[in-house]
């Protein structure tokens, strides 16, 4: 009897640690994947782990990271936002038009760009929350509308000759770290607070997890949906400002298909398109994985055709791995 008991408990602990290990692996696997990629690239290419390349990589990632953070809110509510690339272009062109020349009001230009993003996001929100159009269709429409508005406003021409002060956002740094990276960090911290330490964050998960139950529990579902599209629009506007400054001009054709990279970062990060499940830090890691992949494949001189194939494959693998997690 006694010996039987002890063998039982032995099995239990073994099973226990085994399962815990598996659990940890599936929970933090993407961090390992990122690390693995970085190590591999450091070995394969002497140019990978240089400060110049790192700065470049982080700057590139920052745009997608900002978009993807907004996208995470939307996807957590079981939605999707296809319009972020177009909103980015619209905000960028608005800001650009207001900061041409050196005697312009910088703040006004930036606020107008952010405001434009917020406004278009709010329109998305109204169409989805109040008029009950599915997010896919609503934001598909907005993708075309915002792109069209961008071309109309800019008459199809790039806007250059931006103020030097404005260009500092994209080129300058603070404590040796690019300003755009600081922006991502600040956005990430604010959004983490929002998602995990406020009532609003709870609403986001509840609405995505079971909209019916959320409504029955007395939550304001419509307002929650409105808010997530506003956040996504605002962050797309911010990304537009960042990009305009980095490339030192407003391009009406910028941001095309950026929504796909943003969605990919969210999904690689472990957020479910079915809503209600996911995590914000995963999105950041997801954006880094995509960034490292792009950067590394460039360094290794892989043709851009193959890069697409590889990126697509990684996305699918990420989802397959993730299905094990939940």
């Amino acid at each position: 009897m006694n010996s039987q008991l002890s063998t039982n408990s032995y099995k239990e602990t073994k099973e226990n640690s085994n399962a815990k290990f598996k659990h940890l692996l599936s929970e933090y696997g993407i961090l390992l994947a990122l690390l693995g990629m970085a190590v591999a690239l450091t070995i394969l290419s002497p140019n990978f782990l240089t400060s110049a390349n790192m700065l470049n990589l982080f700057k590139q990632v920052s745009i997608n990271a900002v978009l993807a953070i907004g996208m995470t809110f939307v996807i957590l509510t079981k939605g999707i936002d296809l319009s972020v690339g177009s909103i980015l272009a619209f905000s960028g062109i608005i800001t650009a038009s207001l900061v041409v020349g050196n005697d312009t009001n910088l703040l006004l230009g930036i606020v107008a760009g952010l405001g434009a993003g917020l406004f278009l996001g709010a329109v998305n929100g109204i169409i989805i929350a109040k008029w009950k159009v599915t997010p896919f269709i609503a934001t598909l429409g907005m993708m075309a509308i915002a792109r069209g508005l961008t071309y109309i406003y800019s008459e199809g021409q790039p806007i250059s000759g931006l103020s030097d002060a404005f260009l500092v956002i994209g080129t300058g740094g603070f404590l040796g770290i690019p300003i755009s990276v600081w922006v991502v960090l600040v956005v990430f911290i604010i959004c983490t607070l929002l998602l995990y330490h406020t009532k609003f964050g709870r609403y986001v998960y509840a609405v995505g997890g079971n909209e019916n139950a959320a409504r029955t529990s007395g939550l304001n579902v419509d307002r929650t949906l409105m808010s997530v599209y506003c956040i996504s629009g605002l962050l797309a506007g911010l990304a537009g400002v960042l990009l305009t400054s980095r490339i030192s001009s407003g391009l009406p054709q910028s941001g095309i298909s950026y929504e796909l990279d943003a969605i990919a970062a969210v999904v690689i990060g472990g957020t479910s398109l079915m809503g209600g499940r996911g995590r914000l830090w995963g999105t950041l890691v997801g954006a880094l994985i995509i960034g490292v992949l792009n950067n590394g494949l460039d360094l290794l001189a892989v043709s851009s055709y193959w890069q697409q194939v590889i990126k697509g494959t990684i996305i699918i693998i990420a989802v397959l791995v993730d299905r094990k997690r939940t």
């Binding site: 226990n16 709870r202 007395g218």
Partner: protein
Amino acid sequence: MTVQPFLLEMKGISKFFNGIKAISNVNLNIRKGTVHALMGENGAGKSTTMKILSGIYKPTEGTILMEGKEIFPNTPKVALDYGIAMIHQELSPIFEMTVAENIFLGREPLYSKVHLVNYPKMYKDTKKMFENLDLSINPKKKMKELSVSEIQMVEIVKAVSYDSKVIIMDEPTSSLADKEVEQLFSIINRLKKDGKGIIYISHKMDEIFRISDDITVFRDGEYISTNLAKDLDQETLIKQMVGRELTDVFPERNRSVKEEIALSVEGISAPGYFENVSFQVKKGEILGLTGLMGAGRTEVAKAIFGMIPIESGSIKLKGEPINIKEPKDAIKHGIALVTEDRKEEGLVLPMSVKQNITLSSLKSVSSGPMMKKNTEKQVADDMIKSLKIKTHHRNQLVETLSGGNQQKIVLAKWLLTNPTILILDEPTRGIDIGAKTEIYKLMDHLTKEGYSIIMISSEMPEVLGMSDRIIVLSEGKVMGTLSPKEATQEKILSLATANKVEV
């Protein structure tokens, strides 16, 4: 009992989830041509054991024998091939498909030459099945058009139609009306005669003693005992399940209902659901709302709670008319509704126990927009303790909780809103006898603190045992009000069917 070989044997089965024990070393032996009841409290491991048998989970340890030979039911499909079919506790039909398509899912009849689905045959066969079992469900209807009890019957027919050797029924009657329960029992009797083995899980004691031959009891994931049903009585069985003596199911009646009217519903109508319904609930009272399934009870509750718009009539709280458009408004006025369907309207499955419990009262666990995480933990732990919710941790996802414990979470969520009017729609569905007693005690306690309770229930003993007044609905109309002294099962039934007889 051991003379004839067992049809099915489960030996020393254990299952761990993420290293945490759900069941350990349990046994189950099924004889041919018998109904074997599997009993135990919520979270005892009944469903988990059955999911292992039907190929949903792989056991961590243990062996399964079918007619003496070891089998490995690794997927539901393989389990079906071995002759094991299961009716699940949580139904998951494909709502967009027709009844017949659901029944023949994965084994659609094909035309012999071309590999296309033979729909006429499929519908004909389904119709024949229903006729044989005396059911009147249209095979061409979509699943989403059926009532919960009809869906349940379809699932039963589906499981039976595989002609399996072992049929598992996990709480098949939790959403069935009496008439359908009788239909199920006659199906079961027929299966017994055909030499099938039926594993039957239910928290309804009277059913267990009516139909089972053998009874196995689990407690806390462990095997406790197997007995012939005729050798057991209810007390002994409950003692085996709960691990202690359980004397009175219903609390003693010593409530003092106040004269003050807490809520009055005056002539409310919602076309298609109910018409001209009026009643009052006094302070400290438990009002039983009963009737047959589909009588409009749930809809009345949903209307009070702002989930169904009312066309005419008014709702008054302490004499003041109130305007309720959405659940939010009702909650603000201190009304809470524990909905009947926990998965659709009650729980956010991918959220944790804690997050579900506090979902309707986030205000009380936050200051301004920020959550007060420690307060929230405290509040959740208190609820887990006081309702005896069986969970490994407050952060466990509710989707991994046993059915009965999920029900308790919904109850906890609403108790936390501190309602003055608590509407309970089938509050003890799927809840074990021990927990039921706890819930009844809690209801009694709440009324003493001045709460008013409207309890919708189809379970006669519960209606008779708990209500201070009983209102019977039929076809959306109030048929009469009974006091507990005059109420009997017969009187309630005759009121509940009054409309039907006239027509």
